[in-house]
Amino acid sequence: MLLGGGTVIFLFVMGLLALALLRRPLGAGGKAGDGDPGRGGSERVWFWGLGLAFPLVTLSLLTVYGVVVGDRLLPRDAPDLVTVQAEARQWQWSFSYADAPGRVTENVLHIPSGRPVDVEITSVDVIHAFWVPRLAGKLDAIPGHVNVLRLQADEPGDYAGQSGEFSGLGYREHLFTLRAHDPAGWAAFLEGRTP
């Protein structure tokens, strides 16, 4: 939708530009000052109409939309919420689970499918970012801070995850897997029956 709107605006501006160029190409013997002097009427169209009204209307709609959508993605309270911790280091991820104290998995994050999950993200060395592209946007892992990302996997299965913030030599290989379990599989994981 963004792309479509952007294309329409681009084509509109380019069309206007082409029209401006080809409307009155320079005839022979033209020289500086041949153009009209500026007139109040045309300034009104160009500045009040196209310069102010047009971007203000489109942009305010767009911003309100973006802000509202962003607000819906926030980690609010939910009854069946699951909380996990993600700790990044060069170049590895360690995950631990509020529902299974003491349980730590390396480079594989287990979550239940169909339930909201809060991932509490931090780092022990440099800045990384937690990013599972199919489930949510990215959020930075910053030493000394804990950032909370809300995500939900509707279908069980494996989702690819990666770091999204440059962290030195091993950045490219700084990957992990997010494994979403069905309710039975999640129960089994919590009891320690699956690795």
């Binding site: 305010s60 802000v67 607000d71 926030l74 980690p75 609010r76």
Partner: protein, 108 residues
Amino acid sequence: MKDILRLSLPLTIWLVSFSAIYGLHGVLCQFDWSGLSGPFGMLWGRLVLVAAWAVAVVLQAMTLVVLLTPRFGGPPGFMRSTTLTLAIVALVAAAWTMFPVAVLSLCL
């Protein structure tokens, strides 16, 4: 030189109030009392932020009014009209850029 100062004044005020409210929000969220409920069914944190926003908008409107007077607005001409345009821009900016304090969740 006064012309240049007048020209820079309105938007500089906007920048100061914008940064101040951003900072205020950071402080409110850091010290955990923004969630306490206050009068009119609003949270205290929200009330403070909305009040700050209102102050910023009023300040900006006052700047515009003051610049409209001949005494502080300078002699008529190019610089005066440009200054007034910028004062209106700053007023719109103050109203627009801080609207999220009224509608969004506070510290998430």
